[in-house]
């Protein structure tokens, strides 16, 4: 599914990813943990093709296709989904309209007919209910006036509608109370299947109580320094990140948040 090979990338003049390797097979859930500034968000942005993130060396393929050579929209159409840590507002564009345009864009790129409005509305209502948002949210502007938790749930709703092959959840748990956290986790768990994979980026172990990962990786200073199964997350929770060799809190804090 996804192969990341010796990936180096920088933002402006600062190199953030310094030789990242990761192999994800269909159906697997990988958790990426690590201190602030380790490059967790950068990884998601580099893979999804955000402007300003420059690849210095290495590569990444999705189902054998060179991901880094594609336009951001083509990566999305190929099945890559990024749930944003800080979802942006688009005033005046309703959630429904936005999501239909998104789903239709993928359908059209595969030469398929766009969905009928009625069929899409039905799906959207189901997804909306699944993340426990009132139906009125479909009519509201994208993230317009949403609380932090509502924005995160809205991202999961979009994920459900997009039906991606690989979903990267960038700190989808940050700022959530325990109920909202469960809603997000339930949304993700409902989408787990043999051919869909997830990268769950999180700072805290808490989310992993609800989304059980197959693998846990610790990202520090731009590369994976330790990998293990779900028990590694527990260890990190107990010991923190201070044990990481060469990790300097002062230097790295918030640099790539």
């Amino acid at each position: 599914m996804l192969t990341i090979n010796n990936l180096h990338a920088r933002v402006e003049e600062k190199t953030i990813l310094k030789g990242l390797n990761l192999e994800i097979k269909p159906g697997e859930v990988h958790a990426i943990m690590g201190p602030n500034g380790a490059g967790k968000s950068t990884m998601g942005f580099v893979l999804s093709g955000r402007d300003g993130y420059e690849v210095e060396q290495g590569g990444a393929t999705l189902d054998g296709n060179d991901l880094l050579d594609m336009e951001p929209e083509d990566r999305a159409r190929a099945g890559l989904f990024l749930a944003f840590q800080y979802p942006v507002e688009i005033p005046g564009v309703s959630n429904l309209e936005f999501m239909k345009a998104a789903v239709d864009a993928s359908l059209e790129s595969r030469g398929e007919e766009p969905m009928s409005s009625a069929a899409f509305l039905k799906k959207a209502k189901e997804a909306c209910a699944q993340v426990n948002l009132p139906l009125a949210f479909l009519k509201r502007g994208v993230n317009e006036g949403f609380s932090g938790g509502e924005k995160k749930r809205n991202e999961i709703m979009q994920m459900i509608l997009m039906e991606p092959k690989l979903a990267i959840l960038d700190e989808s748990d940050s700022g959530l109370d325990i109920d909202a956290l469960k809603v997000v986790a339930d949304g993700v768990n409902s989408q787990r299947s043999a051919d869909r994979s997830f990268i769950v980026v999180t700072h805290y172990q808490r989310l992993l109580d609800y989304i059980k990962p197959d693998f846990v990786h610790v990202l520090s200073d731009g590369k994976i320094v330790k990998s293990g199964d779900a028990s590694l997350a527990k260890e990190l929770e107990a010991e923190g990140y201070a044990w990481l060799e060469g990790y300097d809190i002062e230097e790295n804090s918030e640099a790539s948040a």
Partner: protein, 478 residues
């Protein structure tokens, strides 16, 4: 990202073709003789010629205004031709069958079929080509309801009492430089009269097309809604793509008598010139309506064309409880300049006005909102709400706001809100990450920004306006 936006904006102008139609066109130049010739061709009564000449003398004493936030080469008024008409109009056609097929094809290309059977149900059209009205559809059907919808040149002859009573009463001859010029040389335009208590059975619309080289277009529109009547009117405008600038100086007067309502919508898409500012229409327009007791006038405009736009559709809220509204989307790109807004003059008690202005600037264009809200001492408990939002695309354009508020009545309430925002890289990336290409993303973001105004447009035209915006924005992203 902003480079993408640039590309999308530099798309070609779709209505830029020239129609090959034989025309009778005056040699460039303006003097009293030219005005006499226009009046003679139109077979006008003496009073009309006198009115024109008076306006011309007034205009000669006036100076071109320079207070707007626009810059353009000085207009040489002697280099413009003040009359041009398709040759086939010499013997005015009695029906569509007699209209030059090339003319009909021109309008068809613009997406405005003039053959009634093919038309949008419920929309009557007056088509004005250069200086003359080509055809007005559905006239018989409207006449059944007592509605008069005809070229103004015809109204001058057939309904002189109505024209004399109202022409120049809302926008006086000396109002401003361009209005005075229009009074002297206007050639055609639409005339509408809705009788007492009548709801006009269909949408009325006028399409203006400038075709001939070096001509100006000076149309004049007069709409009178008698007591308790209701009408919705739309105008659309296009012009061929030419290297020379062309002048368009129109005057629109609306009269809403007691309890009447007029909804006036404009989709303006004159040729904007190329990306370096070569060519394009200079659009200097005066639009004003007067509301009598309990009457309402609503202006909605979508302005995407013209090299220079100078336009302030206004309401004089003369009667008690009258309502004025102004909803505007103005999009500028390339080297376009727009200075547009409104005036709300509150004279009556309990008068209300709403102003929603959305300016979108891209390329290296300049987009200004200029508005005046005036509460006179007689305007007890009058209210105004103004919301003025600017959206910037890229970093070479400008958005400016010039709000003027004058209140002479302590019970009047005036509110003003203004915002400026950018199409952000974050918004673009969110859309792209969800699989949309950059052009779709920009057009969706901009359409969302304009939503409050689009919902005021008649349904058919809201779709048209959305598409027009999409076309105008195509290539603005890259």
């Amino acid at each position: 990202m902003s480079e993408q936006i640039e590309q999308a904006l530099n798309r070609e102008y779709e209505a830029g073709f020239v129609s090959d139609i034989a025309s009778d066109t005056f040699a460039p130049g303006l003097d009293e003789d030219v005005i006499r010739r226009i009046s003679a061709i139109k077979d006008e009564p003496e009073w009309m010629l006198d009115w024109r000449l008076k306006a011309f003398r007034t205009w000669q004493k006036m100076e071109e205004p320079d207070w707007a936030h626009i810059g353009y080469d000085k207009i040489d008024y002697q280099a413009i031709s003040y009359y041009s008409a398709p040759k086939s109009m010499a013997d005015k056609p009695k029906s569509l069958d007699e209209v030059d097929p090339e003319l009909l094809r021109t309008y068809e290309k613009l997406g405005i079929p003039l053959v009634e059977q093919q038309m949008l149900a419920g929309v009557a059209v007056d088509a004005v080509f250069d200086s003359v009205s080509v055809v007005t559809t559905f006239r018989e059907k409207l006449a059944e309801a007592g509605v008069i919808f005809c070229p103004i040149s015809e109204a001058i002859k057939e309904y002189p009492e109505l024209v004399k009573k109202y022409l120049g009463r809302v926008v006086p001859q000396h109002d401003n430089y361009f209005a005075a010029l229009n009074c002297a040389v206007f050639t055609d335009g639409s005339f509408v009269y809705i009788p007492k208590g009548t709801r006009c059975p269909m949408e009325l619309s006028t399409y203006f097309r400038i075709n001939e080289l070096n001509t100006g277009q000076f149309e004049r529109t007069l709409i009178i809604a008698d007591e308790g009547s209701h009408v919705s009117y739309l105008e659309g405008c296009t012009a061929p793509q030419r290297d020379e600038n062309q002048l368009h100086a129109a005057v629109v007067e609306l009269v809403a008598l007691d309890d009447a309502e007029i909804k006036y919508s404009t989709v303006q898409n004159w040729y904007p010139g190329d990306e370096n500012g070569k060519g394009g229409i200079y659009n200097f327009v005066t639009k004003r309506g007067v509301c009598h007791t309990n009457a309402k006038i609503s202006w909605t405009q979508v302005e995407t064309g013209s090299a220079v736009t100078w336009k302030y559709p206004s309401c004089v809220l003369k009667g008690d409880n009258s309502i004025g509204e102004f909803y505007s989307v103005a999009l500028t790109r390339g080297a376009q300049q727009a200075d547009t807004g409104t005036k709300m003059i509150h004279l009556g008690k309990n008068t209300k006005s709403t102003i929603i202005s959305k300016g979108i600037s891209a390329g290296k264009s300049n987009n200004s909102y200029r508005g005046l809200v005036q509460m006179h001492s007689t305007a007890e408990d009058a209210r105004n709400f103004t919301q003025c939002d600017s959206l910037l695309i890229g970093d070479k354009c400008g958005a400016h706001t010039f709000p003027y508020v004058e209140s002479s009545n302590p019970t009047a309430i005036v509110e003003h809100e203004a915002t400026t925002s950018k199409v952000s890289d974050d918004q673009m990336f969110l859309c792209q990450q969800r699989g949309m290409d950059p052009e779709k993303a920009v057009s969706m973001i901009v359409n969302g920004f304009c939503k409050e105004v689009f919902k005021e447009l008649p349904m058919e035209f809201a779709v048209e306006a959305g598409k027009l915006l999409e076309i105008s924005l195509e290539g603005s992203v890259g």
